[in-house]
């Protein structure tokens, strides 16, 4: 049994049982049977089922949002937005079912074409920072492509996914098509990753754990989508709208209390604008409210756990020049105010490692080349932003950055319609958009001879 703690109150809010390892065999077998039924259903039936999932989510939006906030500590408005996105994701992939198809390839002697076949049973190992939203980015396309899905939420944050499982019972999916297992990654997650009946793993989490998943999955040659860590950068040139860039860049790193793989935890600022930008950024940070995530006016809730708070705190060593312009919450709870580290050495941990908390390093750069080199000087490559009014430069820098998604004069990373995923050690494969469908299908080539 795991104690689920509300990180804003430290109250125990649930004590779910871990799925016993012995049960995994039967769970996978049920998923295999359900998948064979599901894939044979008429397209219209599958489209309709996914649309009904979206409807069920919307009609339970508040309950799901409350659970997400109680479990993760994120502000209630953010939770409502995420649950809304879950419903939109199911709608998008309901629409994708009959719009994803293969090619006809000119060959001699017949007709050659490809079809996209489902993989079979896929396991989605979801993270704790956006538990239901990120799970849905995988559940929806996997089902749309004709797969069965087993979801394992993060050990600390299973509540919204368990509730989701409960509310979509009314949708009447084939028995076993969607199942949830709970517990530790090293036990339950490992069992799924080793199981020969599971054809694909989609894992979202740390790069370190992603490497373990990849090693384990090698034993049965599973397909993988890995959405891992990041050390993304906002690159701000002196000609940018500095006030807007500063305002947006606080959200880009302190949103979800920094517990976001896309967090721009480095802001690289052209040296001539550095002091002005720091003043604007610090002022915008000072307006952030750290507090009870149930309050509509809160911008940042607590961090998810004591262990995580300790880990994030460890980045703040005495050698750094630190600003902390927003007040921290003093009540029990894993609170941490936003911290701004000014011009740290480029080889310091705070510049090189993923922090996953409310700490940003602001560094000056001298030239465009220097900015790109500094932005790329990391093992990660997930997200990023460029702020400039110079169109040519914005494109040169965007193309030069080794990162899976980048926004110009904006701090967004994720849109349901667009592919999302990482370069380098930020992962492999793409979520969202039609690109996600590639990850949930195999390409089959069929040749029909016209010789006879």
């Amino acid at each position: 049994m795991t104690q689920i703690i509300n990180p804003a109150t430290l109250n125990v809010i649930a004590e779910p049982r871990e799925t016993p390892i012995e049960a995994i065999e039967a769970i996978v077998a049920r998923a295999q049977r359900a998948q064979r039924t599901w894939v044979r259903l008429p397209q219209s039936h599958r489209i309709d089922a996914l649309r009904r999932v979206a409807v069920a989510v919307r009609s339970n939006l508040e309950d799901l949002a409350l659970l997400e906030t109680a479990n993760v500590g994120k502000p209630i408005g953010d939770s409502r937005g995420e649950v809304g996105m879950v419903a939109d994701t199911f709608d998008y992939y309901a629409g994708a079912v009959d719009k994803y198809y293969g090619n006809t390839i000119p060959v001699d002697g017949g007709l050659d074409f490809t079809v996209r076949e489902p993989i079979g049973v896929v396991a989605v190992i979801a993270p704790w920072n956006f538990p239901l939203a990120i799970a849905s980015w995988n559940i929806a396309p996997a089902l749309a492509c004709g797969n069965a899905v087993i979801v394992k939420p993060a050990e600390m944050t299973p509540l919204s996914i368990l509730k989701f499982e409960e509310i979509i019972r009314e949708v009447d999916l084939p028995d076993g098509l969607f199942q949830v297992v709970t517990g530790r990654g090293s036990v339950v997650g490992q069992a799924l990753t080793e199981h020969p009946g599971v054809g694909k793993i989609s894992f979202t989490g740390s790069t370190e754990t992603g490497q373990t998943v990849m090693r384990t999955a090698a034993g049965t040659m599973k397909r993988l989508t890995l959405e891992l860590g990041g050390k993304s950068a906002s690159v701000v040139f002196a000609d940018a709208d500095l006030a807007l860039a500063a305002q947006a860049s606080t959200g880009a790193v302190f949103g979800n209390s920094g517990q976001d793989c896309c967090a721009r935890s480095r802001v690289l600022v052209e040296r001539s604008a550095y002091d002005d930008f720091v003043a604007l950024f610090s002022e915008a940070t000072g307006r952030l409210v750290v507090g009870d995530p149930m309050n509509e006016g809160t911008s940042m809730g607590p961090l998810v756990s004591a262990a995580h708070l300790a880990k994030v705190g460890s980045f703040l060593d005495g050698s750094l020049n630190i600003l902390s312009p927003a007040a921290n919450q003093e009540a029990p709870g894993h609170w941490m105010a936003p911290h701004i580290v000014l011009d740290p050495p480029r080889d310091h941990r705070v510049v090189r490692e993923e922090i996953f908390g409310p700490i940003v390093a602001i560094l000056p750069f001298d030239t465009e080349e220097d900015a790109i080199a500094l932005a790329n000087d990391t093992i990660f490559g997930l997200s990023g932003s460029v702020w400039t009014r110079d169109i040519g430069r914005s494109l040169r820098v965007a193309r030069g950055m080794e990162t899976g998604s980048i926004s110009v004069n904006s701090s967004t990373s994720v849109r349901i319609q667009a592919p999302f995923g990482g370069f380098k050690q930020s992962g492999m494969g793409r979520e969202l958009g039609m690109a996600a469908m590639d990850g949930y299908t195999e390409t089959k080539n069929i040749f029909i001879s016209t010789a006879i």
């Binding site: 703690i5 004591a306 708070l309 705190g313 460890s314 703040l316 060593d317 003093e330 894993h334």
Partner: protein, 493 residues
């Protein structure tokens, strides 16, 4: 004799040194027994000298690296929060072990146990309030006031509220940034064993150095090894006067910072206009709370001669309604005394008071369980100068006095300093008299245990110890102040 259905096997007693669990290698010769029945449950054990040395070395080593001493606030807060949650999850076990160690009724120990996790949160609040540094910048000159941990801290815990006190001190020292070595009382190690498990697990979970918390066992020898070691920079001792004096002497050569929470012979002044029934009810509550084994319990009652007999009668009536029984029984008001030696010592003290001319009155029948039961006792008929020493059990002496001024003089004896009580109907007069009692905390018309106000502060006056309680006192005790900054050439001297 059959044992109680809820009794469990004794919890194994282990050292936690340099991140490893070890069996304490030495036998002290005595046994920890079931206080209800007297059956021995486990040997009292002590950590070997060289293992204590390892603990000292590990604590000193950790402090020297400064990885914990200079740890960010977030790391300490995370640890304290995790410990608070861990302890809250084990309230039932803590309540059981405290009941069996002290003889206190399980109803009371359950309540005490439920305060243990919140006590860690209170240390966390203190830490947030005190902080680790303050900027005192003077114009363009940087000046910083640092609140730095004193160094490795030894916590020597008592047997009467063994877990609560240990946790209060450990949490405060950890919050301050000290590596901590806890030594539970040799009479009550089991609750601390749970605490050690919780703290150790929290350290592992939060990825913080395991040497932040260590535990060793034993009696005076181990206590003195810790107290006399120059690597220990702060000692918090809670217990009896003789132990406290020994710690002070051991600590003196190295001028180690000391916090001593000792006992007191606490006076209760009953004013002529006091409500007799309510006064009796409060005094009985006070003298039997935690079986009377708490340092702020009333010890001697000073009452005007004309209402002396009425108060005695009321006390005897209230006393007769107390349920004396097995400490695991939910109905029990007063359980057995903690251990045989203590019960015998109390019985001896009562006998002495009787030899000196007092009469001992009880109105309870003791359960026939074979353990260390002692009937709550009222000793009457003695001049007040024959009741000078703390008893630490459900025993009070009551003395007729001729005037309020005589009561005040009599209240301030050689062991007055910790707590006092005043009973009276006119608040102004009661407050006046209360201020004349030379003790750190004087309560009017009640004998509760919790603080009178959130901002309550008290010093341990006279023989009651060194230091005190206050909203940030506990964390601040384990810290020293350091000011660093750029000098000002304009200063005249």
């Amino acid at each position: 004799m059959t044992s109680h259905p809820l009794r469990q096997p004794a919890r194994p007693q282990l050292d936690l040194v340099a991140g490893e669990w070890l069996e304490p290698a030495e036998a002290l010769g005595g046994a920890i027994d079931d206080p209800n029945t007297g059956e021995p449950l486990q040997d009292q054990r002590a950590t070997r000298e060289d293992t204590v040395e390892l603990a000292l070395r590990a604590a000193r080593g950790l402090h020297t690296t400064r990885s914990w001493a200079d740890s960010p606030l977030e790391a300490r807060i995370a640890l304290l929060d995790d410990i608070a949650i861990g302890l809250a999850a084990r309230v039932d076990e803590l309540a059981y072990e405290d009941a069996m160690a002290t003889g206190n009724g399980i109803r009371t120990t359950r309540q005490m146990a439920s305060y243990i996790g919140p006590r860690v949160s209170s240390a966390r609040r203190q830490l947030v309030e005190v902080g680790v540094a303050e900027d005192l910048n003077q114009g363009g000159r940087p000046v910083r006031l640092l609140h730095r941990p004193l160094g490795p801290a030894a916590i020597l815990a008592p047997w009467n509220a063994p877990t609560f006190v240990a946790v209060a001190k450990v949490a405060s020292a950890v919050a301050a940034g000290c590596p901590v070595i806890l030594k539970p009382s040799e009479w009550a190690p089991a609750g601390c064993q749970i605490v050690a498990e919780v703290v150790h697990e929290s350290l592992l979970r939060t990825g913080l150095p395991t040497d932040v918390f260590q535990m060793v066992h034993g009696a005076a020898v181990v206590g003195s090894q810790l107290a006399s070691d120059p690597r220990i920079r702060a000692i918090s001792f809670t217990g009896g006067a003789s132990g406290g004096h020994a710690v002070a002497i051991a600590a003196a050569p190295h001028l180690t910072a000391l916090q001593l929470e000792l006992g007191g012979h606490n006076p209760a002044i009953v004013l002529p206009d006091a409500d007799i029934e309510a006064t009796a009810a409060a005094l009985i509550e006070g003298m039997t709370k935690l079986n009377g084994q708490w340092c702020e319990a009333p010890g001697k009652i000073l009452v005007p001669a004309n209402i002396h007999d009425d108060l005695v009668d009321a006390l005897m009536v209230t006393m007769s309604s107390l349920a004396i029984g097995h400490c695991l029984d939910d109905r029990t008001d007063v359980g057995p005394m903690a251990y045989r030696l203590h019960r015998d010592r109390l019985q001896g003290a009562i006998n002495e008071l009787v030899t000196a001319g007092g009469s001992a009155r009880t109105s309870s029948t003791l359960p026939d369980l074979g353990g260390w039961f002692l009937a709550p006792t009222l000793v009457t008929g003695l001049p007040v100068d024959r009741s000078l020493r703390e008893l630490f059990g459900p025993v009070v002496t009551i003395h007729a006095v001729g005037s309020v001024e005589e009561a005040i003089r009599a209240a301030n004896g050689p062991e007055t300093g910790l707590a006092g009580f005043v009973f009276g109907s006119e608040p102004g007069e009661a407050m006046r008299v209360a201020a004349l009692i030379a003790a750190g905390e004087v309560r009017i018309n009640g004998c509760k245990l919790a603080d009178l106000a959130d901002a309550s502060e008290q010093s341990f006056w006279n023989s009651a110890g060194i230091g005190g309680h206050g909203p940030t006192e506990m964390v601040r005790f384990f810290q020293g102040r350091q000011i660093i900054g750029v000098d000002d050439p304009a200063l005249p001297i």
